[in-house]
Symmetry: C2
DNA sequence: TTTTGTGAACTAGTTCACAGCT
DNA sequence: AGCTGTGAACTAGTTCACAAAA
C-alpha cells in the first residue's frame, strides 16, 4: 500500500459525480466499521450497498492506492483516507441564510452535526427573528453583520434557504463576505463568480421530474 | 408548428438530466411570461438564463416541434406544452413522511404549492404529533393509516423526511401503499422495487462535496 | 487464489454546424 | 435573414477485462 506520488488532482480534474460517491462510500464504511467489519473488497462493498465495484476502484484510484491486492481495503484505513480527501479531517463551520421553516430545519438537521459540520449561525433580515434561536440553539443574526461573522467565526460553507426573489441578493452578500462554497436551496439559476463553488438543490425541479415519470407511466404503454 | 407524430418517449428513453432541465425551462418561461415576453429564441433563452441553446432545442425535440423557424418559441405555447409533458396539467397530490423539522418545513414549502402541487398530509408514528397540524394547516396522520389515505386521497408522490434508520421501513410502507414516485431526503441508499421512481436528495453528500472543493482549493496549487 | 488498479471498450451526454423551414 | 431541428463530432462517464501484486 505505497502512498502514491500521484499528482494531487485539482478540483477541475475530478468529476463531481466522483466526489459525491466518495461521500457515499464514507457513509458505507461508517456502517461497516460500526458492524465490526475490518476489511472489505470493492466487490463486497458494491454488493452490499448497490454500487459498482469497478467504479469504486476507479474513484479511489484518483487519489492513491488504498487497497491491498488479494485482500481489499482496510475499513478504518480507507475511512481515514476518505475523510482526509473530503476535507473532513477538520471542523467545518457552516452558516444558514434565511431563518424560515426550511432554514431553521436545515440548521437543526442532525445529519450535518453527525458528520462533523458545525452550524454556527442563521442569518435573516427580519427584526422579529434576529436575536432568537433555533430549537437546538443556533442564534439568528442580522444579515448586515454577515461579513464580520464570516471573518470572526471563520465560516467555511453557507447554506442558502431564502425565497426565490432574494436568492441572488443573498448570494452576492455571501460571496462579498468571502465565503467560497455555497449550498443553495433557493430556486432559479443564481450567478456566482468564478472561484465560488455553488451547488444547487432544487426542490421544485425534483418534484416535477417525478411528475414527469408519473405522466409517462400513465400515458405511455 | 405541426404536432409531430413522433413516438411518445417512455420514461427510459429520456434522461433524467433532460427532464430536470425541462423543469428549469418551464420556470424560465414563467418569468418571461410575467415580464410580458411573447416569443423567445433558444439563443436568447440560453443567454438570459445561462443555458446552452443547442441543448434547449435538443431537449425539446424529444417531445415534438414546438418552435417556429425564423422566430423562436411562443412563450405561452411552449409553457403549456412543457406543463403537459411534465404532467403538471393536473393537480398532483403529495404526502410527506416524517413530521420532524425537515418534514414540517417541506410540507409548508411555498414553492411546491406555487407550482401546483398539493400537500395533503404529513405522516408520523409519534402519538404526540398525530392529530396536530403544520403551521400552514397540513394534518399529521398516523403512518398506520397510510395505505387507506393513499387510496382515498389519491396521493401521487411521497416525500420521505425521516431519520436514516427508519428510511427503508418507511419506503417499504409507501411502496406497499401503492405510491409510484418518491422524493427521499433520508440518507443512505434505499432499495426500491422496479417500477418505483425514487429520487434522492442527500444533504450530507452535498455538503461533503463542497468540503472536498474547499480542501482541494487550499491543499492544491 | 484473490482482489486491486487501470488501459481499453463502451455508453451517455453535450456541443457543433448546417440543411431546411418560415 | 433568422432560427429551428438534427445528424455528426466530440467529451464525459461507466463498465469490462486482465496484468500485476499480495
Amino acid at each position: 500500500m505505497k502512498q502514491t506520488n500521484k499528482r494531487k488532482p485539482t478540483t477541475e480534474q475530478v468529476s463531481e459525480l466522483t466526489t459525491n460517491r466518495l461521500s457515499v462510500y464514507l457513509r458505507c464504511l461508517n456502517q461497516l466499521e460500526a458492524a465490526g467489519v475490518e476489511t472489505i473488497s470493492s466487490q463486497a462493498l458494491a454488493q452490499q450497498f448497490h454500487l459498482n465495484a469497478a467504479q469504486i476502484r476507479k474513484d479511489l484510484a484518483y487519489f492513491g492506492e488504498f487497497g491491498v491486492r488479494g485482500v481489499g481495503y482496510y475499513v478504518k484505513d480507507l475511512k481515514r483516507h476518505l475523510r482526509q480527501i473530503l476535507g473532513l479531517d477538520r471542523r467545518l463551520r457552516v452558516a444558514v441564510m434565511g431563518a424560515g421553516n426550511l432554514g431553521l430545519a436545515l440548521a437543526d438537521y442532525p445529519g450535518f452535526r453527525r458528520e462533523g459540520f458545525e452550524i454556527v449561525a442563521l442569518f435573516d433580515v427580519s427584526a422579529e427573528k434576529i436575536g432568537e434561536h433555533s430549537r437546538s440553539g443556533v442564534p439568528i443574526l442580522d444579515l448586515k453583520d454577515l461579513r464580520r461573522h464570516v471573518r470572526r467565526d471563520r465560516i467555511d460553507i453557507v447554506v442558502i434557504a431564502v425565497p426565490a426573489e432574494s436568492g441572488q441578493f443573498v448570494l452576492d452578500q455571501v460571496v462579498t463576505a468571502g465565503v467560497k462554497a455555497v449550498l443553495n436551496f433557493s430556486p432559479g439559476a443564481l450567478k456566482a463568480p468564478a472561484g465560488i463553488k455553488l451547488k444547487n438543490v432544487d426542490l421544485t425541479v425534483s418534484l416535477e421530474s417525478l411528475s414527469f415519470y408519473l405522466a409517462q407511466d400513465e400515458g405511455g404503454e
